[in-house]
């Protein structure tokens, strides 16, 4: 069964075609990575999955539910299946890391404070932030903000986790740490992960399938091994621009 399906989705923003009759399926358990240059429609695709954007044409299905037409409680229930790591973390600035992570539990459950804080501690430990619980978002680094955002996204054990540029703006070591987290979370939670990135090193190391968006079209959809060997010109250029050879090795020409 598919976790998410795009069925002939088209989207135009400001007269520019962002998605042009795009169709693809994301299977349950996949780490599905969407790559492509800036402005290719990667984040727009992600926002369609939780209806922060609505397609001009076509449907986005989450399981058997059509999220493109869902509203009210139905939309809320569909959204609760997702954890969303925003590009900038989107943590509430006046709350500590622990309070931010605890927020979904406080709002949706009747758990007592002690149980909530235990769960928050466990989740923050998973992302390596167990010693920074009382810090405010303004006082931590970009990488820590992303990890805290990730902890908030997974605290309710969602079926699908969406990652919007999880490694952008981070140093290579922190980026690889985030990659490892994505892989380990998939193993621990047995859910589906959908990652939007233009970091091919990250995509190739974490993805089970990689789709490349280019000018509103999916130009390649393949496993990492097949993606490296793609004959598509845009994919080849994209790989070459990040010094990735057909063997998957980093090679500066």
């Amino acid at each position: 069964m598919n976790a998410v399906s795009f069925q002939n989705v088209s989207k135009t923003l400001g007269g520019k075609v962002i998605l042009n009759d795009v169709s693809f399926d994301i299977k349950k358990g996949d780490v599905f990575v969407i790559v492509g240059p800036s402005g290719a429609g990667k984040s727009v695709s992600l926002k369609h999955m939780v209806r922060l954007m609505t397609p001009d044409k076509g449907n986005v299905m989450v399981g058997n539910d059509n999220v493109s037409t869902a509203a009210g409680n139905e939309l809320t229930l569909i959204r609760r299946k997702f954890g969303y790591l925003f590009q900038g973390g989107a943590l509430l600035a006046w709350m500590t890391i622990a309070e931010n992570v605890a927020l979904p539990l406080r709002e949706h459950t009747d758990l007592d404070d002690c149980t909530i804080m235990d769960k928050v501690h466990d989740t923050l430990k998973m992302v390596g932030l167990e010693n920074d619980t009382e810090k405010l978002p303004a006082n931590i680094s970009g990488g820590m903000i992303k990890r805290a955002g990730l902890a908030r996204a997974i605290i309710e054990s969602p079926e699908i986790i969406l990652y919007d540029e999880p490694t952008s703006g981070l140093d290579p070591v922190t980026s690889r740490h985030i990659d490892k987290l994505i892989v380990s979370l998939r193993a621990e939670m047995n859910g589906t992960s959908i990652v939007v990135t233009h970091d091919l090193h990250s995509a190739l190391s974490i993805g089970t399938r990689i789709a490349m968006l280019y000018h509103g079209d999916i130009v390649e959809l393949a496993t990492p091994e097949d993606f490296i060997n793609s004959t598509d010109q845009e994919v080849k250029e994209f790989l070459a621009a990040q010094y990735i050879t057909r063997r998957g090795a980093w090679e500066r020409k």
């Binding site: 007269g15 209806r51 922060l52 959204r79 609760r80 989107a90 979904p104």
Partner: protein, 269 residues
Amino acid sequence: MLTREPEHFPPSVNTVGRMGRTVLFSLRRTGQAVILLILAIINIRYALTKRAQREIVIQMFASGIRSLGVITVVAFFTGMILALQTGIALREFNQEVNIGTAVMVSMLREMGPFMTGLILAAAVGSSIAAQIGTMTISEEIAALELMGIDPVRFLVMPRLVAMMIMTPLLAFYTSIIGILGGGIVGITQLGVPWVKYMQNATMYAETKDLYVGLLKAFIFGIIITIVACKQGFDTTQGAVGVGLGTRQSVITSFLLILISGYFITRLFY
């Protein structure tokens, strides 16, 4: 859904088209603000939850206590100016003893609520618009919606309740301080003893002056909060958009306070 997709419209071809679009957009924004107000009022039923109570107290402190300093100074000098100007005019007829009535009635009916409304629109309204605007830009509002947390209940309702409580209280405080300032000018500049000033002040002032003034302040509090929140949620274009939204919030609140103030006065007097 408060998180909206960016909208793009083709440029208007002529002046009539531009004017029509401006009118339509204004009407749409007004309608959205009214819906926001209705949703916030519906959500007041959650005001007694523990988290909401805590948030309301924080907002009461932010909107009320933090504005106390500037309100005190403005109210004091407003009362002093009122007393001085009226007193100088009345002295021509040896009637300076009547400044008490002039100051009391002006402060309770008009100056107290107006001064409070304008100060809160500038100090608190701008702060709310900037905070929610920044949250919109940094996708925090979208994050709340995705977590299934209603931003109206989480952000707007506590601010609205806090302002509904604090604005009338501050308007009353402004009136008292203004009357006190008027009294000091009466004693020091016009030779009107405090007892005479207060006797005169209480002789002609009615309870109606007090409750109409408080009603005005209550409505001003609602206007300031809803305008500021609406501007915040509508923010686009990054830091520039936050600045523009904040500015627009203050201007709109000022205008609505003056216009609604006139109509409330017309309704009761």
